[in-house]
């Protein structure tokens, strides 16, 4: 069953005399309980995608076109009050920095009870009981005592656990996690990811994981979207994208990781930088950095099509593929 269905989503940011396109006709589906990764570098539009799904874009950003069907209803057309009944309740978001998510002048208990009572008819006592159960689910030691503590009294990993507990409070259908562990240390990151995976699996919660870390995506998700300059350039099963990427950018991204090269040898780098949204090149946005680019790559933008076992937006994908198999046989 489809939980979320995004079609031709286009997001623009108004500038003084025109607008720049931050998301360019994005389409994807998420099944109930499915875990989807969105990867890309800064400026690719990953976070904007997350914000659009929550209808949280603020000016000058706006949804220019497209539909976001969540359980059959179009989020784009919803009023703010309709949206408020969905946010936190059926859809929750986890951000990179837990200190920004948590209110520093309210105790953990106040914040959890407030969220619960905004959506459900509960007494203070009942709400606190639910909060304690949820805190226990995210392995917070002595949850009864935590309710009276303020966010600054807790460590970074502990705070992010609390944010996850708050996101899960109302048993949402979908969690959008935007770089949830980027600010944390590796050992803590591994703990939090394990926890998130376990909770999503046991509660059949859909997860959209936005990250720049291919290792994290590989361990956490079933399907992956790779974004570049506001477009989805490759989509498919995570395992297949990691093991056999088709788009030259995805290949470049994976090959650039230090573990893909013998220690001491130069890394395989992608030349150049991600273009700024105000100056996206004509044709395929990746063409100035692509070693396979031909003339038509510079003039017409490729559509995303099925190739091998993934969907990919590249004119030259078949040539690139034959090159690679030659390399392998050589």
């Amino acid at each position: 069953m489809t939980l979320l269905s995004v079609r031709d989503l286009t997001v623009k940011f108004a500038t003084r005399d025109s607008s720049v396109t931050a998301l360019n006709r994005i389409s994807f589906d998420l099944a109930k309980g499915e875990r989807l990764g969105i990867v890309g570098e800064s400026g690719a539009g990953k976070s904007i995608t997350g914000f659009s799904l929550m209808n949280l874009l603020s000016r000058p950003g706006f949804i220019d076109n497209g539909t976001i069907l969540f359980q059959g209803d179009d989020i784009v057309k919803m009023s703010e009050s309709q949206m408020r009944s969905i946010r936190g309740n059926q859809m929750a978001m986890i951000f990179q920095d837990p200190m920004v998510t948590l209110n520093p002048v309210l105790t953990i208990g106040q914040q959890m009870v407030e969220t619960l009572r905004a959506h459900r008819k509960l007494s203070q006592k009942e709400a606190e009981q639910i909060a304690i159960v949820k805190l226990r689910e995210v392995y917070i030691p002595s949850p009864e005592d935590r309710l009276g503590q303020y966010p600054h009294e807790l460590s970074g990993g502990m705070r992010q656990r609390i944010v996850i507990a708050i996101a899960l409070l109302l048993d949402p259908q979908l969690i959008i996690a935007d770089e949830p562990t980027t600010a944390l240390d590796v050992t803590i990151q591994a703990d939090i990811m394990e926890l998130l995976l376990e909770l999503c699996q046991s509660n059949k919660v859909g997860l959209i994981l936005i990250t720049h870390d291919l290792g994290v995506v590989s361990q956490m998700t079933e399907r992956t979207l790779v974004m570049y300059a506001g477009k989805i350039i490759e989509a498919g099963r995570t395992r297949e994208i990691i093991n056999d990427p088709q788009h030259p950018y995805t290949q470049g991204l994976i090959n650039a990781l230090p573990q893909q090269t013998q220690p001491g040898n130069p890394l395989k780098q992608i030349p150049g930088n991600m273009p700024s949204l105000a100056a996206i090149p004509n044709g395929c946005a990746f063409n100035p950095r692509c070693e396979y680019a031909l003339d038509h790559c510079r003039t017409t933008a490729p559509e995303i099509v099925q190739y091998a076992h993934v969907e990919v937006a590249c004119h030259e994908v078949s040539r690139l593929h034959s090159d690679k198999s030659e390399e392998r046989s050589a």
């Binding site: 570098e41 590796v186 050992t187 650039a256 780098q269 930088n273 991600m274």
Partner: protein
Amino acid sequence: MNDMNPAQPLLELKGLEKRFELDRGFLETIKFRSGKIVRERREVHAVNNISLNVERGEALCVVGESGCGKSTVARLIAGLLTPSGGEIHYEGERIDNRSRHAMMPLRKKMQMIFQNPYASLNPRMTIQQALEEPVRYHNPEMSKSDVLEKVATVMRSVGVDPSWAKRYPHEFSGGQRQRIAIARALTVDPEFIIADEPISALDVSIQAQVLNLMLEAKNQRGLTYLFITHDLSVVQHFGTRVAVLYLGSVCELADTATLFENPKHPYTKALLSAVPQLKDDHPNHIRLKGEIPTPINLPQGCPFESRCAYANDRCRVEQPRPLQQADGSIVACHAVEEDRLES
């Protein structure tokens, strides 16, 4: 000016200590405890008794989680902080007690690259000015045309077009700024570079570009690096030796290949297992209990004891000493010493 004794390490740290006072001033030290007014001074023990050598031509990586003191070590060596104890020797000469003036000749040999290229370049200086400044300062006898030539050469070597010299830092992307910061370090022809998380703020594809640049500079100029990072895949690629820090102490020091093939300290094992792998579907992640304790009240015994699965009574009271292992790595752990770990 000094004998190039090959056996002598470039840099030696001997029992290095750094404590930061939390309560500054008399009034802050006064506390009310169990009905009595007491004077108490709290200190953060950032670096505790660290001894290590950096050999000429190597890239020693210092890894650890936030708060383990890795940046403090870098700043102590660069002379940006004064140690609370211990000694730092550079080419056999003690440098930690030198005056600012006496440090000057060393600044030419030793340069630092910081994490955030947005903060390390002066926003009101053009790239040309920023790059010229250190050359002029350290080579007052150099003619103007030589300075210009030097700056242009260095810019080309880091892949920044010299025609961009009149631009300001805000006109460059993060990766380009980090190249410029590296160029600034290279303009005075240093022999030793301290790099504090130089690629952590950059995107993956840009990280590769900057890391390649640093490797190239190492091979061409014979540079020695002290590379501070939390990213273990970078360590594996870049480092020749690795020092793993935990709560201000070195828990394991080994050749990179040895450390990754055969980590010994329980913390190193946990750290390596926590790195998300690209291909492996089912990671064998070792879960640590709890989180890093605060460095204000250090545990009496092993700093890692509170999170260690192998801790026993001895670990709680006695601090482990760094001991050399059969394969040359140095490990500070009672369990390793007593051979209590199942491998």
